[in-house]
């Protein structure tokens, strides 16, 4: 789906520091990838390269085999890879929900009857079908962000890149958005690239890419990435709360596995431990 080869980027010619250096990542069709990193790690810069908002200074980015530097194919690239940003207020163009979702297909010159169909489908898919005629500024943060996702879905992209889509939302909104993404990935086979610094969101991904100082430092399944608690902490990141708990228990001398990501897993592990503790 998307391949970056030794991707390099600088925000200005004069400055030495590189925002990205030698990033080589391949994102497969249908994958759910979380990109983690603290502020200034280059994760947002990386995201903006995936649909040619930024063009590499060195190296190349291929989307479906198209070089993002190829200006003639710019709109093919933008249509294939949709992008959702942090602040839903700053992405919504129209004063009515359905008009906003229709914005992208209108730009693409899709006939009216088909726009109607794709708008209905997109809003239904994000669970906002009942809000077609609503004014966006009266919706909650999570609802607004789902409208923004529908607005991107209406282009019928194959991949959606989300740059910290939950950073400005309350816990309920956050849950709504993450559930929507998971459903899109599972049911529609949509490739999802989720830029985040929320560890609990990263757990739901198939794969976690950790960035630091403009480069990729870890790239593996969430289980393997978060197992190395000391390393993650050294990078200025946190691990999911449950993983942290197990890590601390282990440090206190309790023999529990640390490769644990969810509360259920922790419960099972601790239950076994207690039973064996009692009988042993």
């Amino acid at each position: 789906m998307i391949t970056t080869e030794r991707l390099q980027f600088k925000y200005s010619e004069e400055r030495e520091e590189e925002a990205l250096r030698d990033v080589s990542v391949t994102i497969q069709d249908g994958e759910f990838v979380a990109v983690l990193g603290h502020n200034g790690s280059g994760k947002s810069t990386f995201a903006k390269h995936l649909n040619a908002i930024l063009l590499p200074v060195g190296g190349t980015v291929y989307v479906d085999g198209i070089d993002t530097k190829d200006e003639r194919r710019l709109y093919d690239i933008r249509q294939a890879v949709g992008m959702v940003f942090q602040n839903p207020d700053n992405q919504i163009v129209a004063t009515v929900v359905e008009e906003d979702v229709a914005f992208a297909p209108e730009n693409l010159g899709v006939p009216s009857a088909e726009i109607r169909k794709v708008v209905d489908w997109a809003l239904e898919t994000v669970g906002m079908g009942g809000y077609k005629r609503h004014a966006p500024h009266l919706l909650s943060g999570g609802q607004k962000q789902r409208v923004a996702i529908a607005g991107v879905l209406a282009m019928k992209p194959r991949c959606i890149v989300l740059d910290e889509p939950t950073a400005m939302l309350d816990p309920i909104g956050r849950r709504e958005v993450v559930a929507t993404l998971r459903r899109l990935n599972k049911e529609e086979g949509m490739t999802i690239v989720l830029i985040t610094h929320n560890m609990d969101e990263a757990v739901s991904a198939d794969r976690v890419v950790v960035m630091s100082g403009g480069g990729v430092v870890l790239d593996d399944t969430p289980r393997k990435v978060f197992a190395d608690v000391a390393r993650i902490k050294a990078l200025g990141l946190d691990v999911p709360q449950v993983t942290e708990l197990m890590y601390e228990l282990r440090r206190e001398g309790l023999d529990v596995p640390t490769e644990i990501l969810t509360v259920d897993e922790a419960y099972q592990a601790l239950k076994c431990r207690c039973i064996s503790g009692v009988s042993g």
């Binding site: 602040n87 163009v93 129209a94 004063t95 730009n107 010159g109 009216s112 282009m155």
Partner: protein, 265 residues
């Protein structure tokens, strides 16, 4: 408190007036306004009143609501009427001190009063029954012929609709900044005009900065959604001039003819 400001005066509904195409409605409104100035006698105004009242009933908007639109203009209307009453030359029918009232003056004042009232009623009926988006769209289509002369019609319409979209967002933000500054001892309510204007400065600076940042982000988001100007753009609700619009045009034409007939009477 800032949130209470209502935007536009759109009154959602599904009446025949609501269903009319926005461009057609704009055109018909212009004709209606022009007709008001053609009326010469009482019969004409009677016809106009009847027609306007019928339109209000058709729009299913409460009459009281429509009349409320006149309220802010009451002073202006009264002033114009009084001025016309005393300042017109002609046959004097009443004189007190330096004020003279003439027969022509009375007729002129009444005509002026009626004209302004119907002007306001007609235009508010347009904004009551047309959503801001539809109105923008109508304006864009009306201006289209000027596009060939280099007028960026699509861009103008886009700017208008984005401005409409961001008014509530920026109002909310202003409210937030005001509260934050009030919490730190800023005073927006008291003092003379100059003092209050000065107090607004620290409010405007962060508001502007944030507006620029929003504009930048919005531009990127629009690019991500393949925005490339008005060329080859389609619309979700492709507005077509339909049967109902021709019908409305016909009715207005009949109305114009009746007014001209009344003028001859």
């Amino acid at each position: 408190m800032l949130k209470d400001i209502t935007l536009g005066q759109y009154f959602p509904g599904n009446s025949p007036l609501h269903r009319l195409d926005a461009m057609m409605k704009l055109l018909l409104s212009v004709v209606y306004l022009a007709v008001i100035f053609l009326i010469r006698n009482f019969y004409g105004y009677a016809l106009l009143a009847l027609f306007t009242f019928a339109l209000i009933r058709l729009s299913a908007i409460p009459v009281k609501f429509v009349l409320k639109g006149l309220k802010p203009l009451l002073m202006f209307i009264a002033f114009t009427a009084v001025l016309n009453l005393f300042m017109t030359d002609g046959t004097v029918i009443w004189r007190v001190w330096f004020l003279t009232v003439t027969r022509e003056g009375v007729a002129y004042a009444v005509a002026m009063l009626l004209r302004i009232v119907f002007l306001v009623l007609g235009t508010s009926l347009l904004t009551y029954t047309t959503s801001p988006i539809a109105l923008t769209d109508g304006i864009e289509r009306l201006l289209k012929p000027f596009g060939k002369m280099g007028l960026p019609t699509h861009e103008l319409a886009m700017m208008m609709s984005i401005a409409l979209r961001f008014i509530p967002t920026l109002l909310e933000e202003t409210d937030k900044i005001m509260k934050a500054q009030t919490a730190r001892g800023a005073d927006f309510q008291s003092g003379n005009l100059l003092k209050r204007a000065k107090a607004l400065l620290p409010l405007l600076v962060p508001l502007f900065i944030s507006a620029f940042r929003r504009a930048d982000e919005l531009a990127t988001a629009m690019e991500c959604r393949c925005y490339r100007g008005g060329n080859n753009r389609t619309r979700l609700n492709a507005s077509k001039i339909g049967r109902i619009d021709y019908f409305a045009g016909g009715i207005l034409a009949v109305f114009c003819a009746l007014i001209l007939l009344a003028n001859a009477a």
